[in-house]
């Protein structure tokens, strides 16, 4: 909780905050942090339900992105915040199960599932109630609680927050490929929560608390950018948009069937595409706009779209009133 959220919600953040601190835009990140590719490939795949042949879809998505995972240790980072039997808060376990199997089929050396839930400390309950534990048991896959993992300090190569450095879980730092697996959701502080915001979950709660409030004080959008700039590349994203969430997300929103999976190596381009699928203009989402300057692509002409055209799957996801400005041309 921070003053701005208390008073008005994230709308008060406004575009002006992004430029606080003065100086040229490049002064906000080290040259070495620049990783924006000339073009980014994003795969949009239709998947009507969780009973779809998900493993094949995911194998195809990985292949179409040209990612070679053979011999690499893969860390899958789903979105597991808390459990609501009526809700669609978390990445569906069926997608996690299919991803585990898909990476194994592609000869990954090791597949691990890891998350640092943002609200609850009861891992046993969360895993069991969400259905993830039975998936892990069936697939004989290790789960790591990132909230309590051993940590190492890393200096931040970008300075949109004043954090300077972050303690990150060793399990994340040691993985060859970190795969962000968010749910397609709107968010009442950040506008959207996708593969970049999902990385809040790698921040260890044992140091930063539950919820990870230090990041809220530092600025949610700014923290999203700084976290994503410090995490090593290559990375990969698989967005569970089969059933997403609109309105007052990320916890209390309304389920919305979108029937889509989104894949890509550039998390910024993946999130920009996912935003467009929710009929949200990515250039108006603060953290996407900032990340689009140096971490990845948000411009349509820089995103090589493979699979289903956005127009055929896009839906008008509702947002809370404070984020109506995100709607419009997308």
């Amino acid at each position: 909780m921070r003053r701005r959220e208390f008073l008005l919600g994230a709308v008060a953040a406004g575009p002006a905050i992004a430029m606080l601190g003065g100086g040229s835009p490049t002064s906000r990140w080290d040259r070495a942090a620049y990783r924006k590719p000339l073009a980014s490939r994003v795969v949009v795949s239709r998947a009507e339900s969780y009973e779809s042949p998900l493993i094949e879809r995911i194998v195809e998505g990985i292949r179409l992105c040209g990612v070679n995972v053979a011999g690499r240790s893969v860390l899958l980072k789903p979105n597991l915040v808390e459990f609501d039997p009526q809700g669609v808060i978390n990445t569906n376990p069926a997608v996690v199960a299919a991803a585990i199997e898909a990476f194994k089929r592609l000869d990954a050396r090791k597949v691990t599932v890891a998350e640092g839930p943002g609200h609850r400390r009861d891992n046993e309950h969360l895993l069991r109630a969400s259905g993830l534990q039975s998936i892990l048991d069936q697939q004989r896959t290790r789960y790591v609680d990132l909230n309590s993992d051993d940590v190492s300090a890393r200096a931040l190569p970008s300075r949109f927050t004043s954090l300077g450095r972050l303690y990150l879980p060793n399990t994340v730092l040691e993985a060859d490929l970190v795969v962000s697996m968010p749910k397609l959701k709107t968010h009442h502080w950040a506008g959207v929560t996708l593969s970049m915001k999902n990385m809040f979950g790698v921040i260890p709660g044992s140091i930063y608390g539950w919820p990870k409030n230090v990041l809220h004080w530092a600025g949610i959008d700014e923290s999203i950018v700084d976290i994503n700039s410090v995490l090593a590349m290559p990375r990969f994203a698989i967005v569970d948009g089969i059933v997403g969430m609109e309105g007052n997300g990320p916890i209390q929103g309304t389920p919305r069937h979108a029937g889509v999976l989104i894949f890509g190596e550039d998390p910024v381009a993946v999130d920009a595409t996912a935003a467009r699928l929710m009929r949200i203009d990515p250039a108006k989402v603060k953290h996407l706009r900032i990340a689009g300057e140096f971490l990845g692509n948000i411009d349509r002409e820089k995103i090589v779209q493979v699979g289903e055209p956005i127009e055929s799957l896009a839906q008008d996801f509702q947002v809370i009133s404070q984020f109506r400005h995100l709607k419009g041309a997308w």
């Binding site: 008073l7 609850r120 051993d150 007052n248």
Partner: protein, 302 residues
Amino acid sequence: MMLPAALQFLQKTQNADGGWGAVPTRQSNTEATALALLALTSCPEAKATHLERGLQWLIDCQNPDGSWPMHRSPSHGSWATALATLALASFDGQRARAIKGARWLLAHRGRSLGWWASLAYQVVPQKMAVRVDPDLLGWSWTSDGFSWVEPTAYALIALKRLNADIGGAADRHIGEAERLLYDRMCSGGGWNHGNSNAYGVTIPPYPETTALALIALQDREAEAPNRASLRRLVAMLAEVESGLSLSWATLCFSLRGQDVDVWRQRLARCYTRSGFLGETRVIALALLALSERVTPFRLALR
């Protein structure tokens, strides 16, 4: 059956440096070590050498200002100070170190949202994105952070246990932290991490934080919100089968003098099924819940 197995787990998984990690093979941390020590002190069968080595780890990790870090690095004072203080207070001859920890807690409460938030809350509370009284301070997860339920509950228990040793210096902060907990209570009773409402939508409580807050407020048993929260806790437990929730709930009921045999049986079944994922803090709490001695968390009625 569970008690010997849990005791054996703790004794077997103690790190070479004397502390305990979040799960076996992880680096020692203050939360796991403090809870493991509290659990071992409740078991007459525990070997003295494990207690001595664990105690030494805690002593070695205390910062000169009285605080404890969560891990050896970063070394700054953390929310786990309350648990370490509580653990040291249960050892003869460690009172002075525990008092130093208590004094650090008194000097390091959560941060205020400032006069602007305070004014807005007074004038247009219904317009707030979240409905919490910004003037009330408890304790935070991080230094200079916002106050949340779990760290506030730990600090409250530690300070209430040690308040007499510091000449009642914690009276005012204890009162304010109690008001904060009641302010953060969910509609109908119970607590979650510390926010009961966002944009007008109620957020439900969790059993583990509800039981913990009730333990911190056990000396206010007559308060109506406590009774409502106790009922809510029982209702929530019908749908939750986890070591953490059942352990805190069993401790909570036990401290109120209730018969906890049924809860202990559920706890043991749960351990058989999951082993509590090998989480040190949960196994330690379960040992405490199974013990007939729950003195580390017992507070005198006021």
